[in-house]
Structures are given as C-alpha cells and as structure tokens.
C-alpha cells in the first residue's frame, strides 16, 4: 500500500521535523544577521533573515572591549582547569568504585555518593563552606565546588564495570597495580566515555553562572556568563564605548554580537563529539 505514493503521513512528518529544525535555528540565524547588519537596517527593524548592509563593526567593538576580552580569558582558564581536575578525580574515583567485589566498604562509599544526588546543603551553607575554606574570590571557588558530580561518577563507573576481568587479571600477572591497569589497559579503550564526560564538563564550566556569580567579587575574575548577564540582561553598556549617534553600530547589534561570540566555541565543538556522546549518554541512561 505504502509505496511511491506520498502519504499524508510523510507530509506531516516532514512538516513537523522541518518546523523543529527551523524553530531551533532561526533565533541563531537572526542574531547573526542582526549583528552583521548596518545601523539603519537594525534600527528600522528590517532584519528578518539575512543581514542587510553586511559589516563587522559590531564584532570589532566587542573584541575591543577589555571587559569581554578578560572574561573570555577567564572562562577559558576555568574551563581547562576545571575539566582537567574534574576528569582526573572522576576517572580515578569511578574506576575505584567499579571494583565492587574487591573494594572494602564498597556499600558505604557507594551510599555516600548516591545520597548527594537526592539531598544537599543548599545555597547558603555551601557558600559558607566555600568562605570558610578561604576560596571566595579565587579561581578555586569557580572550579572546585562543581568539579565532581555523583551522576558523572555513576555513569563512568557503569562504563568501567563492562571492562573484561580477564584482561585486568592479565595486567596483574604482568605486574601492574590498579593504577597501571587503569592507565595502560582501561583508558585506551575508553575513548567514548572520556570524550563525552570531558565535553559535558567543559560545557558545564563554560556555561556556569551561579558559582562565579555567588563566589566572585573581583570584576577582573568574572567569566563570560556573568559579564553577558550584565551587558545583555541588565543592559549595562560596553566598556570605553559610547554608543551614540555617531558610532556606526547600534546597541542591539553589539548585544547580539556578544551573545554570538559567547556561544560560538560550544556550537562548533559539540557536533564533532556527537557520535561519542550518543554512546556515552546511552551507557548512562540505560544502566544508571
């Protein structure tokens, strides 16, 4: 029955999926176009899809803004440092926990971690702990409190449990200890999970707003997300710039350019890791 004839089903399906794609992409296309258009077209609200009077003035302004530039640097430092710490500690911990028959007090350690998924101290006690640890207003306040999540540990542990025991035993016979087995035998076959977890961690740090917002005072240490909020949501102007009648760009273009600049790194990286994270997410969701 359903051969070459285009059924109403197919039409509905295609219309629906096209709608989904467009509604996801359109806001970004619009922002890019508005940030690349000339002043007059933006002010007259003429931008609908493509840029009018293509120019890169807005981006020149954004990149010349010291505050944004510094925030960009800070964000990169937080992402790299945070992801490195998070991956190291999570990988080691998850591997240790995956040996449930050998690890002493396994049940206790496991419970210790699972509890944190359902109950926490809350915003204020956590702030006070960060303060008592003398971390306030340092890089570590942004990097450390969110470095380890129970969820990530459990996903990774589940992945490591799949590792064949015979290979592990052969490693012991060759004189490796657990650390050696992890480093030489397990990690080389764990590319998918490592890539997924690193991506999730990096995106998490890139996007993190609450930690820097609560724990940082020093303007010079603020990351991109906090700066973005004050520029776009709260409407403070860009530094050293007086967007007036004479400047070649309008404020909207600048704001859109700032948003675009802050999402570009993520949007260019995630499609390449998609095949890994699909695998990684499956491991976590099906067994978790």
């Amino acid at each position: 029955m359903e051969k070459k004839k285009i059924s109403i089903w197919t039409v509905l399906k295609v219309v629906f999926l096209t709608f989904m794609v467009l509604i996801t992409l359109y806001p970004f296309i619009f922002m890019v176009s508005a940030s690349l258009s000339d002043k007059l077209s933006v002010m007259r609200n003429e931008i609908i899809l493509w840029p009018k009077g293509l120019n890169f003035e807005a981006y020149k302004f954004v990149f010349r803004d010291r505050r944004i530039f510094r925030a960009y640097e800070n964000t990169i430092i937080y992402v790299v440092l945070g992801t490195a710490i998070s991956m190291t500690v999570t990988t080691l911990g998850a591997y240790g926990l995956s040996k449930k028959n050998r690890l002493v007090f396994f049940k206790f350690f496991n419970l210790l971690i699972v509890i944190t998924m359902f109950f926490g101290g809350g915003m204020i006690p956590k702030y006070l702990v960060v303060k008592e640890l003398k971390l306030l207003d340092t890089i570590w306040a942004v990097v450390l409190p969110s470095a380890i999540s129970a969820w990530n540990v459990i996903v990774m542990r589940t992945f490591f449990m799949e590792f064949p025991e015979e290979i592990e035993q052969s490693g012991f016979i060759d004189g490796l200890n657990d650390l050696g087995v992890l480093y030489y035998l397990v990690l080389p076959t764990s590319g998918a999970i490592l890539a997924t977890m690193s991506l999730f961690n990096a995106v998490g740090y890139w996007n993190s707003f609450m930690e820097p917002f609560l724990y940082l005072q020093d303007q010079k240490k603020l990351p991109l997300q906090v700066i973005l909020r004050s520029i776009v949501i709260q409407g403070s102007s860009l530094e050293n710039q007086y967007v007036s009648v004479d400047t070649p760009v309008v404020e909207e273009s600048l704001k859109y350019a700032t948003i675009i600049v802050s999402v570009i790194p993520i949007m260019t990286i995630y499609p390449f890791t998609q095949k890994y994270f699909m695998k990684g997410v499956m491991v976590g969701s099906l067994k978790g």
Binding site: G93, L103, V104, M123, L214, V232, V263, M278
Partner: protein, 312 residues
C-alpha cells in the same frame, strides 16, 4: 596475588588481607571522597545554622541556638504561600507541557527512514541543550523587548498593541516553560530514541500483516514498548516537583513579576546573600529540600506499588 592460597584464619586477618588488596583502589577514590565531603557533606552539616542565629563574627559553633524560630518566621511571612505556590506551579506546568514533548518528537523521528536526514534533525535539535541559561535568557530579553524585539514586531504586524512581556506577571510562566521546551525537547528525546531502537522489528512486521496502519503501530507497539522508560523518567520528574533551579528563575524575573516568578530558591538568595539573613535563608532552603525528598520517596513508592518500576 601470589599468596591467595594462604587464607588468613581470623576475621581480622581476612579484613587486613582485603584492605591490602584494595589499597590502590582506596588511594584512587580518596580525592573523590574528599570532594564529596568538602562540597556536599560539609554544607549538609552547615544546615545546623537553620536552627541557630548565625552571625559571621561568632561562626558556625558559637552562634546561639534558636530552635524552629526561622521556620515559624517563614510560615508567618505574608508571601510564604506565594513562594510555595509559584515553585510548585512552575515545575508542575513545565511537567505537563514539557514532559510529552520529547516523547512525541522521538516517536515521529523514529519513523524517519532517511538516516542522514534523521541525523541532521538530531544534531540541530540537540544544540539548545548546550547553550547556557544566561544566553537563553539573553535571547528572550532581546527578542521580547518592547522597543526593538522581533516578537513585538510580529505582534504589531498582526495588528495588536506591543506587549511588555518581561514585566507582565502573566507572561512569566509561558516564557519560562516554552523556552524550557525549546531547550530540552531534542536532548530529552535521546533516551526515548534509544528505547525505540531496541524494539524488535518483527513486531512491526507482524502488525503490518495484520493490517495495522502507522498510527496504530505507534499506539500499540511503540508506546507500550517505551512505557517503562516513560514511567521511570516521570517518577524522577514528579520527585522534583518542588525543586525549581535558582538560575533561570533568577535571570528571567524582575521585581514587577514576583507575583508569579518569585520561587523559593530566588527568595533564599535574596534573604541569604543580599539581606544577610543566612540562618533564615538556610531554614527555607532546608524546608524546600525536605519537601523534595518527600515527593521523590512517595513518587517512587507509588510507582513500585503500581508498576513494579522503581529507582531503588
């Protein structure tokens, strides 16, 4: 490993042997445990200040005990009910509108035979998941702006008066929920697509022989097969009905919309971080987490009784 045949006789000896066998494992989990203790368990211990009158000068230990005073203050607060209602309704409506969306999307996407097209749709719709809350709220603020926003341009073109979305309490929930769906529908569908791909294709083949059309196949095969996944996720979501995250509500709200937008977590922030009432704020936060826990435990209990599906 070489002396495994010499089994220690006593319980103590056996324990020491196990300890020795897992010494490297213990070293490996030590850093992780330190993190959990510092940033999860110390804050939990810090909850005691909910029952004290915390003062930064006296510290955790020397601040005087006040019992349930802060909880009483909260329940006597004129807007306490509003906070509880807003928190609950915001996640309740998000659940009602947002929960079915990824399921429907997955069911339709699963019908696509063209692998490349399917992959493209997936890649595109996952994108918003990776965008930060700040960016999403920035986009909302820009698009809905009464003076320059593209949405108001459309509203005007349709012959209506411009709407000042961001300061109108009636618009807060629709904006919060719609943007939540926009951000989460693609990503949320992954787990259902995985469940759908595990369905035995012969089921569909035999249904076709019996003359079932596409819709019938979806209703009678696809949906029942992914029901366990749906139920598990539904438990998780109902367990979180009182937990509205701080970030998005905070970024999206303004004083003008508190009637609908002020939730427990944003109030905790204002009391604790702005007004400096650390103990009061902690007490409200604790009240919130205890309710959450009750929701989760009861949702899990009900589901275990009814469906024999449970989280633990």
């Amino acid at each position: 490993m070489s002396n495994t045949n010499i089994l220690p006789k006593t319980g103590m000896g056996r324990f020491l042997k196990r300890l020795n066998d897992s010494k490297y494992l213990l070293i490996m989990i030590l850093p992780m445990l330190t993190f959990f203790i510092l940033f999860n368990y110390l804050p939990m211990y810090g909850i005691i200040i909910a029952f004290k009158q915390y003062s930064p000068f006296k510290g955790f230990f020397d601040s005087p005990w006040v019992g349930f005073k802060h909880f009483q203050t909260f329940f006597a607060y004129q807007h306490a009910w509003r906070l509880i209602r807003n928190t609950f309704l915001l996640s309740f409506y998000s659940l009602i509108w947002g929960f079915p969306a990824p399921i429907i999307f997955a069911l339709i996407l699963n019908e696509v035979k063209n692998e490349r097209g399917k992959k493209l749709v997936q890649t595109v719709t996952y994108m918003p998941h990776f965008i930060s809350t700040v960016v999403v709220v920035s986009m909302i603020t820009m698009f809905l702006s009464p003076s320059t926003g593209i949405v108001n341009k459309l509203v005007e073109a349709l012959g209506y008066k411009k709407i000042n979305f961001m300061i109108n309490p009636g618009w807060f929930r629709p904006i919060y929920i719609a943007s939540g769906i926009w951000q989460g529908v693609g990503w949320g569908s992954i787990i259902y697509l995985a469940a759908l791909s595990n369905i035995d294709p012969t089921l569909y083949a035999s249904a076709m022989i019996d003359g079932a059309n596409k819709l019938q196949r979806i209703i009678h095969i696809s949906i029942p097969c992914i029901a366990p996944t749906i139920i598990t996720l539904l438990i998780l979501r109902t367990g979180n009905l009182m937990s509205v995250g701080f970030e998005k509500a905070f970024l999206l709200q303004g004083t003008a919309t508190y009637e609908t937008s002020d939730v427990i977590q944003t109030f905790v922030y204002r009391q604790g971080m702005r007004a400096g009432n650390m103990s009061y704020a902690t007490a409200i936060g604790l009240f919130n987490s205890v309710i959450n826990l009750c929701f989760l435990v009861s949702a899990n209990y009900i589901s275990r009784r009814v469906n024999e599906t449970s989280l633990w």
